[in-house]
């Protein structure tokens, strides 16, 4: 059963309860932030901060709107981090769709940071390993919902079977459309095969205004080095070795004793 987290941004009040729940459950070290002119806890996710409410002030239809949305690992079906990861077993996709890091296997190369189209994984300067939301795999393994879901006071966050979440999201979208939000929709980007964190947005045509990338895909350079370049490299190395070998077999060494001619 694939599970999913549904974030109904139209119900988010930016209370940050999910941030604290995440910090508490995962036993994260708290840090103090420097002022950056925003209500946002910090500008971006951090190795010890996996769940961030983004606050976006948007000018729209002559008025100001203040969009708040929770940001964390999207648990992509076709995950860019896994595509990029060179260390076998460091990033695993669980049977329920969770993309989880096995830190014993993580080598801290940071390829996943580049592979992720959502810019989620963060490298810790102290442990030199990469961290992100685990979808509370230690909770879901025993049938509990992730900590953020548990704590959300407004039902903005729900968790369950992915198909069910998509059904709920579709219903909610229809409600919003009926309420006049003609561009309401579900954010479940297909460029990464769909995500196991899906959003309901008032305006799905402009996910950027929520701090979400418009058409996230696994970067082509990552795909290039994972795919064609492996073939190219293998061909080059094997070609060079075999070429050298058969050159020797055919022509032998370049030895003055053999080819030599005394010019004097």
């Amino acid at each position: 059963m694939i599970v999913a987290k549904l974030i109904d941004t139209t119900l988010c009040i930016g209370c940050k309860a999910c941030e604290v729940a995440c910090q508490e459950w995962n036993d994260q070290e708290y840090t103090l932030g420097t002022f950056d002119g925003s209500y946002q806890t910090m500008p971006d996710l951090a190795p010890n901060f996996w769940n961030l409410i983004k606050f976006n002030e948007v000018e729209k239809n002559g008025g100001t709107s203040w969009l708040m949305s929770k940001y964390q690992c999207m648990h992509c079906a076709d995950a860019g981090c896994i595509a990029a990861c060179p260390a076998p077993g460091a990033i695993v996709q669980l049977a329920n769709g969770t993309v989880d890091f096995a830190h014993d296997n993580c080598i801290g190369c940071g390829y996943c940071i580049t592979g992720c189209p959502f810019d989620v994984p963060k490298l810790s300067p102290t442990t030199k390993k990469v961290y992100k939301c685990t979808l509370c795999s230690d909770r879901t393994a025993v049938g509990l919902e992730p900590a953020c879901i548990k704590t959300c006071p407004t039902n903005c966050l729900t968790f369950g079977e992915r198909d069910e979440m998509i059904r709920v999201a579709d219903i909610r979208t229809r409600e919003l459309k009926a309420d006049g939000f003609k561009d309401a929709g579900v954010y479940n980007p297909q460029g990464v095969g769909g995500t196991n964190v899906i959003y309901v947005l008032n305006d799905v045509k402009q996910p950027e205004s929520y701090g979400l990338p418009k058409d996230p895909v696994i970067p082509w350079t990552v795909q290039l080095w994972k795919g064609p370049m492996k073939v190219l490299g293998t061909l080059a190395f094997v070609g060079a070795i075999l070429g050298a070998f058969f050159h020797f077999v055919i022509y032998g060494p370049q030895d003055p004793e053999v080819h030599g001619h005394d010019e004097e």
């Binding site: 139209t10 119900l11 988010c12 009040i13 930016g14 209370c15 940050k16 309860a17 941030e19 604290v20 910090q23 508490e24 708290y30 840090t31 103090l32 932030g33 420097t34 002022f35 950056d36 002119g37 925003s38 209500y39 806890t41 002030e57 000018e59 100001t64 709107s65 203040w66 969009l67 708040m68 006071p153 407004t154 039902n155 903005c156 409600e175 309420d179």
Partner: protein
């Protein structure tokens, strides 16, 4: 709250004004979101700032801080003139039909009876018939009936005037008014959610009165999804109000005044007489409540012969005032010797920090029982500690106050009940023992009490009787259990020694004892009702009668009789919190006699009138709410410039610095809380400190641009009281308002910082004025004047 958090989900319109529940009551706000999602309720947010609540609202209207009465007055005008009010409700359940004495009027900013510095309220009274009942005109046509007087009073509050005063546009006002008055339909209800955005004004009580008037006109009081709902900011602030604050006894009994020398005089002065023939006038039972309270205080020592110990009860002067501003003013004048401060941080949360510090420095001793060293406990080093944020004129070397900081247990280290906004008494268990030498509050109090009494016994002392006669029957006198105290508060029948079932069983002959009549029923012979966690919902309205216990009498919606018409049938057939089945009232615990036929009594049993007050004769500055400017305002009152601010504004002549003028301090400052923090407390905790580490000054983009300020620039904010510095947060969410044709800007100042804790920053109360609401004594923390400079 007249209703409760869970009931907000029943609303069709949610008016959020003078509060910011998405930020400050996020857990309760789930019921707002439920109403929005499931009932398609419209959320209307009226606030000087575009808040997180505004972000999820259907309609946001910015208004200048302190102009709420103008806005609500405009709503009253709009509703009455357009006929968008619930006529039958108004006729049946309000005093709209009551006639007011000849001579009542309003002129030049004053109601009739103005004497230059106070009111003679003779003309504010009902016209009574020979038997002492108020005269009425059920058709609401008599020129002196409340309805006509109200209509006339608010005729000045046209949409144009509202826009001019508040700074919003007329169209914005009308859009909000259209949404709010949807609730005038019999089957629709609207709730009003407010908090400190209303109470922090020098006309706070009138403001809430105005909201009550709107709700009565809409027929929303007593309705599911209706009511006037104060969102309490602290876990137990409702409890502390119910149990009596500085000038109130438990259960909202009036504190005895020195001129009332006998219990008879006290009861005569404080027991109201009915103003309608059939009015139940429940406060007529005051003697039962009061004598039972004295029996709880003094036990067997309280007898009929000694007036139940009335003489031992502390009294305040006839005109005396023990509200916050008053006793700090007394302290400032050196009239207080010591202060015991529990769970209170006056240096941080009192207005005009300098005055608070100076007042404390005049004490001989100060006891602070707290989890952390607070600003109050550290007040004697304030100048040094605060130096980086602002200069404080305080001579630390001259302070001789002896400070005792007692480590006190926190909420998780104690059992007991929290009373939430919904009036629910929710019992909790202690999660852990207090660390180290920390003690529970009741243990600190008990030990102090016992030691003082021991010293009195040994050495004697002034006025020993109250101390010696105090009942102290606890299993362990030095450590009373909160369960023992809760049982005492519930009350006991002294003949059978059985727990009372409710205040209906209270007697005025000394045979019952009860620590707080409104809580009677919370711990009966059936056990601790507050610990119940039943989740049945018979009405389907989310009232959950078996979840904890709600005062009074486990009633979930106050005035619920008014949710039904004259036949006892619900106004909204689909939602019946209360319904007459021919013999009894069914549903919620009726705010009525349970077996009284619908027409036999008027609906508002707590009031001598029996109906709700559109016209409130007992308030200080007038029976109708009138728009007055804050004590410091950028403009003169557009309705009556000659009486601009509240004529009854409470202030103290001793202020070290008086009020500022608009020419020196041109911007309107508002103080507020952020969702990330709880008051001045969470700056001591890691998680909240991470979520919002830094103090900031929130500025409108237009003002910032004019001053060349961008986010992050350091700015200095100054008022007539003091200055502070901090980084600017520039936002378009703070709009420029056009007030009386001039541009008006707000400067936002979040509270929460101070000079001790994991995170530190300026105390915004260094700027706030000592101007107080004359009814409640609450300081005007919002809508004062400041200047702003880039540094």
């Amino acid at each position: 709250m007249t209703n409760g958090w869970t009931d907000v989900a029943n609303a069709d319109v949610v008016l959020v004004m003078g509060g910011n529940p998405a930020e400050n009551h996020p857990v309760g706000f789930r019921f707002v979101m439920e109403a929005k999602r499931l009932r398609k309720a419209k959320i209307v947010c009226i606030d000087p700032r575009f808040t997180r609540t505004a972000a999820v609202s259907d309609c946001y209207v910015p208004i200048r801080s302190g102009t709420d009465i103008a806005f609500l007055g405009g709503l009253i005008h709009y509703a009455v003139e357009s006929g968008k009010y619930q006529r039958k409700y108004v006729e049946q359940h309000t005093n709209a039909s009551f006639l007011i004495a000849e001579g009542f009027g309003f002129e030049n900013g004053h109601f009739s009876g103005w004497q230059g510095d106070k009111y003679d309220k003779t003309t504010w009274q009902y016209e009574l018939d020979a038997s002492g009942n108020a005269k009425t005109d059920p058709k609401l046509e008599h020129p002196r009936c409340v309805f006509q007087l109200m209509k006339k009073h608010y005729s000045r509050y046209t949409p144009e005037k509202v826009a001019e005063i508040c700074g919003c546009t007329k169209e914005e006002f009308l859009k909000a008014a259209d949404l709010i008055t949807v609730a005038a339909a019999e089957d629709k209800s609207g709730t009003v959610l407010y908090a400190l955005g209303w109470t922090h004004h020098s006309f706070a009580v009138q403001l809430i009165h105005a909201a009550a008037m709107v709700q009565l006109l809409m027929g929303n009081i007593g309705m599911p999804g209706g009511g006037v709902n104060a969102q309490r900011g602290h876990a137990n602030i409702q409890g502390s109000t119910d149990m009596g604050a500085w000038n109130m006894l438990p259960g909202y009994l009036k504190i005895p005044r020195a001129n009332l020398t006998t219990i008879e005089e006290y009861l005569k002065a404080n027991t109201p007489k009915p103003l309608q023939a059939k009015s139940l006038n429940y406060w007529g039972n005051t003697p039962k409540f009061f004598k039972s309270l004295l029996k709880a205080y003094y036990g067997k020592k309280a007898t009929e012969a000694n007036q139940y110990g009335y003489d031992w009860l502390p009294k305040i002067d006839e005109k005396g005032d023990h509200s916050w501003g008053a006793f700090f003013d007394d302290m400032f004048h050196g009239k207080l010797e010591g202060l015991i401060s529990f769970g209170m941080n006056p240096v941080a949360n009192g207005p005009n920090t300098k005055k608070m510090l100076t007042a404390l420095s005049k004490l001989k001793w100060l006891i602070v029982a707290e989890n952390f060293e607070t600003e109050t406990a550290a007040f004697w080093k304030a100048k040094t500690l605060a130096a980086k944020d602002y200069p404080l004129a305080l001579d630390e070397a001259g302070i001789s106050t002896e400070v005792f900081l007692l480590p006190a247990a926190n909420f998780a280290e104690k059992d007991g009940a929290f009373v939430n906004s919904s009036r629910w008494l929710q019992w909790k268990e202690a999660a852990t023992d207090p660390p180290g030498e920390a003690k529970r509050d009741q243990e600190i109090i008990a030990k102090l009490f016992l030691e003082i009494r021991r010293l009195y016994e040994k050495d004697g002392g002034a006025n020993p009787a109250p101390l010696m006669n105090m009942s102290w029957d606890y299993a362990k006198p030095a450590m009373p259990l909160l369960s023992e105290i809760a049982r005492e508060v519930n009350g006991v029948d002294l003949k059978t020694l059985k727990q009372l079932n409710g205040f209906g069983e209270l007697k005025d002959d000394g045979s019952t004892a009860c620590g707080n009549w409104v809580y009677s029923g919370c711990w009966t012979e059936a056990g601790n009702q507050m610990a119940r966690r039943g989740q049945v919902d018979p009405t389907g309205l989310g009232l959950y009668p078996q979840w904890s216990w709600s005062w009074p009498a486990n009633r979930r919606i106050l005035y619920n009789r008014a949710s039904a018409d004259e036949n006892g049938q619900p106004w909204d057939k689909t939602r019946a919190p209360l319904q007459w089945d021919g013999e009894r009232w069914r549903g919620d615990v009726p705010d009525y006699k349970a077996d009284a036929e619908p027409g036999s009594l008027p609906a508002f049993i707590m009031l001598p009138e029996g109906v709700a007050r559109l016209f409130a004769p007992d308030l200080v500055e007038g029976p109708f709410p009138e728009h007055y400017e804050p004590a410091e305002s950028p403009v003169l009152n557009a309705l009556h410039p000659e009486a601009s601010a509240n004529p009854m504004l409470k202030t103290y002549s001793s202020e070290p610095v008086a009020f500022g003028k608009a020419k020196d301090f041109p911007y309107v400052a508002i103080t507020y809380r952020l969702t990330e923090h709880f008051h001045y407390w969470t700056k001591h905790t890691s998680s909240s400190s991470e979520l919002q580490s830094n103090f900031f000054v929130e500025l409108p983009a237009e003002l910032a641009a004019a001053k060349g300020i961008v986010s992050g620039d350091k700015v200095r904010v100054s008022s007539a009281r003091g200055t502070l510095e901090g980084p600017a947060l520039v936002t378009k969410r703070l709009r420029t308002l056009m007030v009386n044709g001039q541009k008006t800007y707000h400067v936002g100042l979040p509270i929460h910082w101070g000079f001790v804790g994991k995170i530190t920053g300026p105390l915004i109360n260094n700027l706030t004025p000592s101007a107080y609401d004359p009814n409640s004594g609450t300081p005007e923390y919002k809508g004062f004047l400041v200047n702003l400079e880039k540094i």
